[in-house]
């Protein structure tokens, strides 16, 4: 009897063990920027839905979330340290301008064979493909891209006697408007109920990070007909009249004519957050100033109607009564890049797979799920202001999607997208960007544009090698 029980027990154990082996659960980890508006959607929808779907397919998968510090720079630091240590998430979001450097570092899984075997890949628009392609290989998937308009405050413009709606056609137009606002800043401030009115701001300084380069410096540089990297010669631009014009414009608004915040503003605290709060200040923060003109990313239009967001403009007056947008003009009509009258630049984030993942196939399944047309459309409906410039043209052409578009979305898609350009997709770019930020800080500290350009040229040559730089007229 005893033996019988023992045998039974042992056999039972054996079966249990086998069962446990068969049931071994696959666990994937995911890192996504916590400050993105659709982060909760990952937690509440994508992850549970994907887990259920995979369980139904017979491969139970568990996705764990890895929370990294916010915002961009701490996220980047945490990402690279984890990648270098081999402890990063299987799937993570990467700003697309880091993809070249990270691909060369061997951190990213080459997705080319995966996308080629995926029938839906053909729906990606060329510009979106470019952002995630480096050296002919695909390293991630992206859902959308962004553009940069110029925002202006209608209430301030009206009080300053400026026309509304407004579309400047040159830098001089912008300066003229700024001067007109500056002349009446005290009365306008009193009228609105804020501490001061700042006519204009262009993002600047080291603390501004990539925002300084992309939303400040680049928007001016493109308008002066310049670039940081000359694709024709394959070299970085050390000197050009466009670079000098850009630095001079910074010098003009911050030092010469004092049309903006004090230069020190950009060197303390979290200036990029603050400048957006100034743009959306209609008197709800009476001790802070209001800002009349700012070039920034397109999503701000939606933050300002979201009551949960710190940039929310209370109603009344409501966003539509006070905030408006226009295109950023070139220095003079036709002086912009490719002879354009107006300029803008695009970026965006992509989702990539860690090259060290144990389960590349399942990770790609997750990417396919998140980037499917249906899920992107659902995301667009659930999270206002998300996926407005989709990476998939089948989504752009979808009648339901088109119905959702506001006049602002149409403006971005039809007026700005045709004008847009991208940052150089090269591993050196992030470092050159740091250099640009420092150049603007030097202007803020009172150095002459010519001296700063000289410094930029020398430091750039030392950084990327003298044989890799070029001086353009």
């Amino acid at each position: 009897m005893y033996r019988c029980v023992k045998t039974f027990f042992l056999v039972g154990l054996l079966f249990l063990g086998l069962g446990a082996l068969a049931q071994e659960q696959i666990t994937l980890s995911l890192a996504y920027p916590t400050w993105f508006t659709d982060y909760p959607r990952f937690l509440n929808w994508y992850i549970p839905a994907f887990e259920k779907w995979m369980a139904a397919l017979g491969t139970p998968v568990k996705i764990e979330v890895m929370e990294l510090p916010a915002p961009d720079d701490p996220y980047r630091e945490a990402t690279l340290l984890r990648l270098a240590a081999g402890t990063h998430a299987d799937i993570f979001a990467d700003d697309t301008f880091y993809i070249p450097a990270d691909a060369l570092a061997g951190y990213l899984l080459n997705l080319t064979p995966y996308v080629e075997a995926w029938p839906e890949w053909k729906f990606w628009v060329p510009a979106a493909k470019d952002a995630i392609t480096f050296q002919g290989k695909v390293w991630g998937l992206n859902r959308d891209t962004d553009v940069r308009p110029m925002y202006y405050r209608k209430d301030i413009f009206k009080l300053a006697g400026l026309p509304v709606p407004w579309q400047p056609t040159s830098w001089e137009d912008i300066l003229e408007a700024a001067r007109a606002i500056k002349a009446k800043r005290a009365e306008i401030a009193e009228e609105i109920g804020v501490s001061d009115v700042i006519p204009i701001a262009f993002k600047a300084g080291i603390l501004g990070g990539e925002a300084t380069t992309m939303q400040g410096f680049y928007m001016l540089l493109l308008g002066a007909g310049g670039r940081l990297y000359d694709a024709e010669s394959g070299k970085w631009v050390a000197k050009s009249s466009a670079l000098l014009d850009t630095l001079k414009f910074y010098h003009k608004i911050y030092i010469e004519e004092r049309l903006s915040v004090e230069p020190e503003f950009w060197m303390a605290g979290a200036p990029v957050d603050k400048i957006h709060l100034y743009l959306s200040n209609v008197g709800q923060r009476p001790k802070e100033p209001a800002l009349a003109m700012l070039v920034t990313w397109d999503g701000v239009w939606y933050d300002t109607v979201n009551p949960q967001h710190e940039r929310y403009i209370p109603d009344p007056p409501g966003r539509d009564a006070v905030l408006a947008y226009c295109k950023m003009p070139a220095k003079e009509p036709g002086a912009g890049i490719r002879g354009q009258d107006f300029v803008t630049i695009s970026g965006g984030w992509g989702m990539v797979i860690n090259a060290a993942t144990q389960y590349p196939d399942i990770a790609f399944e997750f990417l396919k799920f998140v980037h499917s047309k249906g899920e992107m459309l659902a995301n667009r409906i659930a999270v206002p202001g998300s996926i407005r410039l989709p990476a998939r043209w089948d989504l752009i052409e979808d009648p339901v999607y088109q119905k959702l578009a506001t006049s602002y979305d149409v403006f971005c898609a039809t007026e700005l997208v045709p004008l847009t350009t991208v940052r150089p997709g090269l591993p050196e770019y992030p470092k050159v960007s740091d250099l640009v930020q420092e150049a603007t800080e030097k202007i803020l500290l009172g150095e002459k544009p010519e001296d700063v350009l000289e410094w930029y040229a020398g430091t750039l040559a030392a950084m990327v090698g003298a044989e890799n730089v070029i001086e353009l007229p």
């Binding site: 630091e77 060369l104 570092a105 603390l207 004090e262 020190e264 503003f265 605290g269 800080e441």
Partner: protein
């Protein structure tokens, strides 16, 4: 005795193993790293190459590194040597209970001692936040200034170096004060009484009796706080982040930025080795001075 040594060795093993894993190992790894071009991203992250002494050659020619060496020197001179040691000595003298510099000294002196000590035992991060909330554009100082009808100032931007020096003095003076207080109490009463009998003034007594007797503690303290202050990172980094431009970029901040902002981990380590050497040289100089004077 032999047997005891064996036991001693066995007892030391756990500590040695831990020390090797967490101190010696990383240190050796770090030195090895400085001979490569290892980075946290880009091609060098995948295939780091052995590049010999190139990092050290770059360090020698790096104007930002030498700039940071100079700034660290100013920071140490201002905040440690003049600030903490000087102020610490003054406070130690003023609050010395035996000497009664002024009447009713007991209570004020003890209060001052406690407050200084409190600052010293407070964690760096808290000190940082205190100073930020004081000097920030919307901070206490500017609020006061505005209430008095003056224009607010970006203190940490316009007077960056001064701000971090003041904050570090505020933070570290307690240590020097305590050390000097202990040293002062250890001076034999008879010596000072003899000076009194000889008719020495307070200043003469300080200059010719107390100061010479304090030479050794002063040297030891200056050596200690110099080494510590060269290694200070958190407080100035929180307050100014090395900016504006590079104006408050101390050696430690430069090392951090190279490693974790520009992700050149090998060169960042080389900068750290540079810091180590500079601190080592200073320690040797102090040591020599101390030996000679003694």
């Amino acid at each position: 005795m032999k047997k005891n040594l064996g036991v001693l060795a066995i007892l030391l093993v756990p500590a040695f193993v831990l020390w090797s894993i967490f101190m010696l190992g990383p240190a050796i790894w770090g030195i090895r790293l400085t001979f490569t071009n290892e980075a946290l991203t880009g091609p060098a992250a995948r295939d780091p190459e052995f590049i010999g002494l190139a990092n050290y050659q770059r360090l020698m020619r790096d104007p930002y590194f030498w700039g940071s060496v100079y700034r660290s020197f100013v920071f140490v001179l201002g905040s440690a040597i003049i600030g903490q040691a000087g102020l610490g000595l003054l406070l130690a003298m003023l609050t010395s209970e035996r000497r009664r510099v002024w009447s009713r000294i007991r209570l004020t002196g003890r209060l001052a001692t406690t407050l200084c000590w409190l600052a010293w035992v407070t964690p760096e991060t808290l000190i940082g936040w205190c100073w930020i909330s004081f000097l920030d554009y919307n901070g206490v100082l500017n609020q006061t200034i505005k209430a008095l009808g003056f224009e607010p100032v970006y203190w940490m931007v316009r007077y960056g170096m001064l701000s971090i020096i003041l904050a570090n003095i505020w933070w570290g003076t307690g240590w020097s004060m305590m050390l000097f207080k202990a040293a002062l109490e250890s001076i034999p009463r008879e010596v000072e009484e003899a000076a009194d009998v000889d008719g020495a003034s307070s200043w003469q007594k300080f200059r010719y009796v107390i100061l010479p007797l304090l030479r050794r503690p002063i040297f030891v303290n200056v050596l200690l706080i110099t080494i510590w202050t060269y290694g200070v990172f958190g407080l100035p980094f929180m307050m100014t982040g090395g900016g504006p431009g590079h104006r408050t970029e101390l050696m430690t901040i430069y090392a951090y930025k190279t490693g974790f902002k520009y992700f050149e981990i090998a060169y960042g380590t080389t900068v750290s080795i540079g810091i180590l050497f500079i601190t080592l040289i200073l320690a040797l100089v102090y040591h020599r001075l101390l030996a000679r004077k003694a």
